[in-house]
C-alpha cells in the first residue's frame, strides 16, 4: 500500500497520508464549508463519528456521502458545497 494518496477536492489535487478520511483531507485543503443547509446556511463536520450527517459531500458523483466515514482513495473526486 502506498504511503500517500492523491485525490481531487473541488478540482484541486491534494496529497494525503494513506488511510486519511475525506473530512480530514477537506480540512487539510483549507475548506471549512462542506455543504449548505436546506435554507442555505454554511455547515461543516459536527459529530465526527457518522451520526449527524453534517459532513455530507459528493464523492465520485455520488451525493450525500458522509465524508467523516469515507477513506480517501487514489483518484477520488470530492466536491463540497453541493
Amino acid at each position: 500500500m502506498a504511503d500517500r494518496v492523491t485525490l481531487t477536492i473541488n478540482n484541486r489535487r491534494i496529497d494525503v497520508p494513506a488511510g486519511t478520511v475525506v473530512s480530514v483531507a477537506i480540512a487539510r485543503a483549507g475548506i471549512t464549508r462542506l455543504r449548505r443547509s436546506v435554507t442555505g446556511e454554511p455547515r461543516g463536520t459536527l459529530c465526527g463519528m457518522g451520526i449527524c450527517f453534517e459532513c455530507r459531500v459528493t464523492i465520485n458523483g455520488r451525493t450525500q456521502v458522509r465524508s467523516c466515514q469515507t477513506i480517501c482513495q487514489p483518484g477520488m473526486e470530492v466536491r463540497t458545497d453541493e
Binding site: S23, T32, S37, V38, L46, C47, I51, Q69
Partner: protein, 428 residues
C-alpha cells in the same frame, strides 16, 4: 446486488469496549461469534486509532485479545433493520448482508449530546469528542485556538488531545459547578486507576483556564466561527477562537434496542443482572444501559458474553466489579447533571434540527416530538433525530418514541436485496 447470509451462535452489534469484551468472552468459550461495526477497525469511538498508536495499554491488550479470540469482525457494516425474527439486515459497501443469530448482544455505545445555542451550526463548531476523533485521524489543528465547552470528564481528555496536537486551548468551560466537580473528584479516590489518569491529564493541562459553572451563550462568525461568548451566570465575555469543541455529555445509542422492542428503564435499556434485556436471548452492555465509561462497558460486556455462551456462573464472579463501576456511573451522572439555564440559551431563530433547519421558535409551539415532526419535519432528515431528538428531549422534555426501520438512511439496493423471500442460504 448480492445478498449474503451468515449465521452466528452469538452476534454482537458494536465493536467498542463492551462489544469486544462480550465477543472475547463468548468466542473464547468456543462459540461461533460475529461482530458488526460501522468503523473500519475495531475499538469504537473511545479506542479510535488505538490499534496503530498503542498509547493506551488497556485498549491494546483488549484489541490483541479480540484479534486472537476467533470472533469474526464484519467492519464498515451498519445494521439497518430486523428482517425476520433472529435475522438482521446489514448494509456494507459490498452489498447487503443477512445475519442470523441465536443470541444477540447489543453494544451500540453512545454519542455526544449537543444543545443548540445561537451560532452552534457554524462550521468549525464541532462536538468535543467529534473534534478529538478527527484529530486522531490527522485533522490539522496545530496552532489553532480552540475553546472547549460543555460538560463531563471528556472535556479534559479532549483538551489534552488538542494540546498534544499543538492546538492552543483558550479555556475549558464546564457547566457543572466547582462543588459538583470536586464531589466527583472525591469519588475517584475509590478508583485509583482513574484518579492517576486524571492527575496525569491535569498536569499536562497546567496553564489552561478551567472555568466551572460556565457555558456558551453564542458563537459568532459568518462563514465559520470566529469567537464564542461564555457566561458564568453573572458576567459574560468573549473568547476569540478558530474552533469550538462542545459536548454536553454522552447519550446512549438506544435506537437499535428500541427497534427490537427492548424495554427501557427511563432513557436507558433495561437489563437484569445477567445483562439480559426484556427480550429472550437479547443482551445489552455498555453505554446503552447507562453511561458509565470504558471500564463499566468492559465488565458488562464480559458478563453478557459469558452468559450468552452459557457460562452464567462464571459471569456472577464479575458482579462485584460491575457494582463498583456502577457506583462510578452514578457519581458521573450526578456530578455532571445539566443546569436549567442551558434550556434557555437557544434564541427563537436558533436552528435545532440541523437536517431540516427547524428553529427553536417553531418547535416551541408544539407539545410533543410527534406533533413537531408532523408539522415541521423536525427529526425527519438524514440523521433521523439522532441530534435534535435528544436536544428536544432536554429542552422540552419530549419523550423517546418508536423507531422504525430502516433506522438510518440506506441505499435502495440494500432494501431491494432484503426482499422478503424465504431465508437466505447460509454460506458459513
Amino acid at each position: 446486488m448480492n445478498r449474503v447470509g451468515h449465521n452466528f451462535e452469538i452476534l454482537v452489534v458494536g465493536a467498542g469496549p463492551a462489544g469486544i469484551a462480550a465477543a472475547c468472552a463468548a468466542a473464547e468459550s468456543g462459540k461461533h461469534v460475529g461482530v458488526v461495526d460501522t468503523a473500519s477497525t475495531p475499538g469504537g469511538q473511545i479506542w479510535l486509532c488505538a490499534q496503530t498508536t498503542k498509547h493506551d495499554r488497556q485498549a491494546s491488550a483488549w484489541l490483541r485479545r479480540f484479534e486472537r479470540c476467533g470472533g469474526k469482525l464484519i467492519s464498515r457494516a451498519t445494521v439497518v433493520a430486523q428482517l425476520r425474527p433472529r435475522e438482521l439486515l446489514v448494509e456494507t459497501n459490498e452489498g447487503a448482508l443477512e445475519l442470523g443469530w441465536q443470541k444477540l448482544v447489543l453494544a451500540t455505545g453512545a454519542r455526544e449530546l449537543f444543545l443548540p445555542f445561537p451560532g452552534w451550526t457554524l462550521p468549525n463548531v464541532l462536538g468535543a469528542g467529534g473534534l478529538q476523533a478527527q484529530i486522531k485521524l490527522g485533522f490539522p489543528i496545530s496552532g489553532k485556538r480552540v475553546v472547549v465547552a460543555g460538560s463531563g470528564p471528556l472535556l479534559l481528555d479532549v483538551a489534552d488531545s488538542l494540546r498534544q496536537s499543538g492546538a492552543e486551548v483558550c479555556c475549558i468551560a464546564e457547566q457543572a459547578s466547582l462543588w459538583q466537580v470536586m464531589n466527583f473528584a472525591s469519588h475517584l479516590l475509590s478508583h485509583p486507576g482513574k484518579l492517576w489518569q486524571s492527575l496525569q491529564i491535569l498536569t499536562r493541562l497546567v496553564g489552561v483556564p478551567y472555568h466551572t459553572s460556565c457555558w456558551p451563550l453564542r458563537a459568532e462568525g459568518l462563514e465559520r466561527v470566529e469567537a464564542v461568548s461564555l457566561t458564568d451566570g453573572r458576567k459574560s465575555w468573549t473568547e476569540p477562537c478558530d474552533y469550538i469543541a462542545c459536548g454536553f455529555g454522552l447519550v446512549p445509542n438506544i435506537e437499535l434496542p428500541l427497534l427490537f422492542g427492548c424495554a427501557l428503564n427511563g432513557d436507558v435499556v433495561q437489563v437484569n443482572d445477567q445483562q439480559e434485556t426484556s427480550l429472550p436471548d437479547v443482551f445489552c452492555a455498555g453505554e446503552p444501559t447507562g453511561v458509565g465509561g470504558v471500564d463499566c462497558a468492559l465488565v458488562e460486556g464480559e458478563i453478557a458474553g459469558l452468559t450468552a455462551a452459557g457460562r452464567a456462573v462464571e459471569a456472577t464472579r464479575l458482579f462485584g466489579k460491575r457494582r463498583r463501576w456502577h457506583d462510578f456511573r452514578r457519581s458521573l451522572s450526578t456530578a455532571f447533571r445539566l443546569r436549567e439555564e442551558l434550556k434557555t440559551i437557544a434564541a427563537s431563530d436558533t436552528v435545532v434540527c440541523r437536517c431540516e433547519d427547524v428553529s427553536f421558535g417553531r418547535l416551541r409551539q408544539f407539545s410533543s416530538w410527534r406533533e413537531a415532526k408532523l408539522q415541521t419535519r423536525c427529526g425527519m432528515g438524514p440523521c433521523q433525530g439522532r441530534i435534535c431528538g435528544v436536544a428536544t428531549r432536554t429542552l422540552f422534555g419530549w419523550g423517546v418514541e418508536s423507531v422504525r426501520p430502516p433506522i438510518l438512511p440506506s441505499r435502495i439496493e440494500t432494501l431491494v436485496a432484503a426482499d422478503m423471500k424465504p431465508r437466505a442460504e447460509s454460506v458459513q
